[in-house]
Amino acid sequence: MHKESAIREPLILGHKTYHDITEDVCRSIEGKAPKAWYVLFGIALLLGLYGVGCILYLLGTGIGTWGLNKTVQWAWDITNFVWWVGIGHAGTLISAVLLLFRQKWRMAINRAAEAMTIFAVFMAGLFPLIHMGRLWVGYWVMPIPNQFGSLWVNFNSPLLWDVFAISTYLSVGFVFWYIGLIPDFATIRDRAKSPVSKKMYSILSFGWSGRAKHWNRFEIVSLVLAGLATPLVFSVHSIVSFDFATSVIPGWHTTIFPPYFVAGAVFSGFAMVQTIMLIVRKGLKLEAYLHTKHIEYMNIVIMVTGSIVGVAYLTELFISWYSGVEYESYAFINRATGSYWWAYAAMMTCNVVSPQLMWFKKLRTSLLFTFFISIVVNIGMWFERFVIIVTSLHEDYLPSSWSMFYPTWTDIGIYIGTIGLFFVFYLAFARYFPVLPIAELKTILKSSGESYKNDTAPKRPKQPVSPKKTVVSVVEEVTVDVEKNVITEEVHIVAEEKIEISHEEKQSRISSLMEKLGTVDPSKKDDLKLVSGVGPKLEGVLNDIGIFTFEQVSKMTKSEYDLLDSITGSFPGRAERDNWAEQAKTLMNK
């Protein structure tokens, strides 16, 4: 087993067993959704529908319903596009780059962040599609033989690179996310009670069974996909920045764009992860898996990428002066002091100043402050794109065509609508999908679980010393659990004694046991398999004796355990070791 350094903080707080992880993650899927979920879903759905309405209105009427004009040909649409793509960068970065660096804390957030990525990139993709004006001929961006003598798409154009980059990113991101989800869907499938959900999750889980060979392949597939996705993440936002950098517009035409856009994307993506995960961990009660340390790690990433972005802003300013190009210099002076100075000021404050506050440990470990900053960063990053796009365009080479950009209600409606749609998807995800990677968390439980790190986890008894083969014959085909060190001498005697016990003797022991536990109607049967240490076989044995419910099990004490052992002859000491009565009590109260 992989050992983690003792000074490294645990990633899973408290004492959790493998079963606890399953329970904690599946609880929200199997239980009823709280009222707040319905309220949020309703609001998100309304906003989303409003957005869809605006899109339909735009498609019916034309791009003129946006506030664009001859000078400012790109504004909110591309701002929103870049903003959403940027948000979509954290997910793959967390799952791919952090996987390659073996950062285990990513497991608390990777599933949720990947979902966020997919939904965000989907929202991003809407904007260029709408901007085409004629959505129904959107397939023209693909190199498909056509009626114009096969006039191919222009592979020299960064806008076409974008088409390939975004669609590759979306589909590869989806595959990466889904391959990780399959084993977790299988877990939910095997627990599902209602036939409908059983059916749904068996389709979603693709018939996953968890064979050794499959896990072997799973690990390699995850690793290779991470290796492929890492350069992909960097390429996507680099290519988005080429949309601007390869043009000859002052303020866009800068070589610093690719690294600066990628850093900005990670910055805004992590901010969005913080916003969402702080709510999700609270709403789904997952504080044990996503605690302050995880938030702190993410805040450090925000601080680092925020600083890179800050340096990039200042470099841009310096180079515009140092280049000696008057148009270039003017673009930047106009940005900072022109009619859009307030957008520039908002960008500088939100993106350069606010992440620097994360140097203070008190602030970066404060959840409320983190939530506040994450919102600030999201706003700041939206303004960054707005500043880059609109301020560079609105005062171009020809002063007579200088103009301002004012958003129309369609601009605003579509933007708000994508936020609504995003949350519709996200809330549905949080309700029906496992928000934490169940299988992956189990792999780090023993190396990074708190109770395993500080040795408070219940110890397993040592391997058996000598097997007791004598016990086999009493109840046929029942497991023989060999002695553990914990077993008292007393039990040994009982276990050996039993070989001679007659049928009548056994019956009398059963009746005396049942007297203490009380008889019940078999139809009120509980699922005794939920008790750790009881499997389908042992459940059958218990049912044969007359034990059907948790209530009966909860009444068991040491003497009943011994009596049970003497009847079944097959599990000496097991019931006591696993403390069935205590377990049954908790199960009863559920």
Binding site: T22, G207, R460, T479
Partner: protein
């Protein structure tokens, strides 16, 4: 005669691994292990070979790259050379810097999807496929060894059971071996 199979259930991954080591040392052939998460180090013990999916990904990546390059040559140079700002439209090599981004994207696209599809087909995990884990709890917190009698002809069923019972199991069951998929 129908094949029989013994399922031995454990409640801990490390215990299963140690038991597997012990059983294999005694000459038992373990056909498979069902677990809720990957047990690191179990593969060499039970003789699961390292997967070749990495090679598959590489080959699909090469395919994607080749398609991209052949496509550029045909679309942009041979079939309809476009004059875009005077960029060289007569030679693939000189125009290639502009094609690097999409070449990369297509390489990744093919490698990722090719590998993922191969993975799903080889696992027989496709939409609508039935699951074949012997107990539902193996996707939660139970670890099950599958030992087929036909692969352990030197032992009888009882002998095998006795050997398995010497390890720290929770349950053991012998039944007919059914191939689900």
């Amino acid at each position: 005669m129908a094949d029989r199979v013994i399922y031995a259930m454990y409640d801990d991954d490390d215990v299963l691994k140690d038991s597997a080591k012990k059983l294999v040392a005694e000459g038992v052939h373990i056909s498979d292990v069902f677990s809720p998460f990957p047990i690191h180090g179990i593969d060499p013990i039970i003789g699961v070979k390292h997967t070749r999916l990495g090679i598959v990904a590489f080959m699909f990546g090469l395919l994607g790259m080749t398609l991209a390059v052949v496509g550029f040559k045909f679309f942009m140079i041979v079939d309809w050379p476009m004059n875009i700002g005077g960029k060289p439209n007569f030679t693939l090599l000189q125009n290639f810097p502009a094609f690097v981004p999409i070449t990369f994207e297509l390489t990744v696209l093919f490698a990722a999807h090719g590998m993922a599809i191969t993975y799903l087909i080889r696992n027989k995990t496709l939409p609508g496929m039935p699951a074949d884990n012997p107990y539902p709890s193996t996707t939660d917190d139970r670890f099950v060894m599958e030992i087929r009698l036909s692969e352990n002809s030197k032992f009888s069923g009882t002998e095998l059971q006795a050997k398995i019972k010497e390890t720290d199991i929770i349950e053991i069951e012998e039944k007919d071996y059914v191939v689900v998929k």
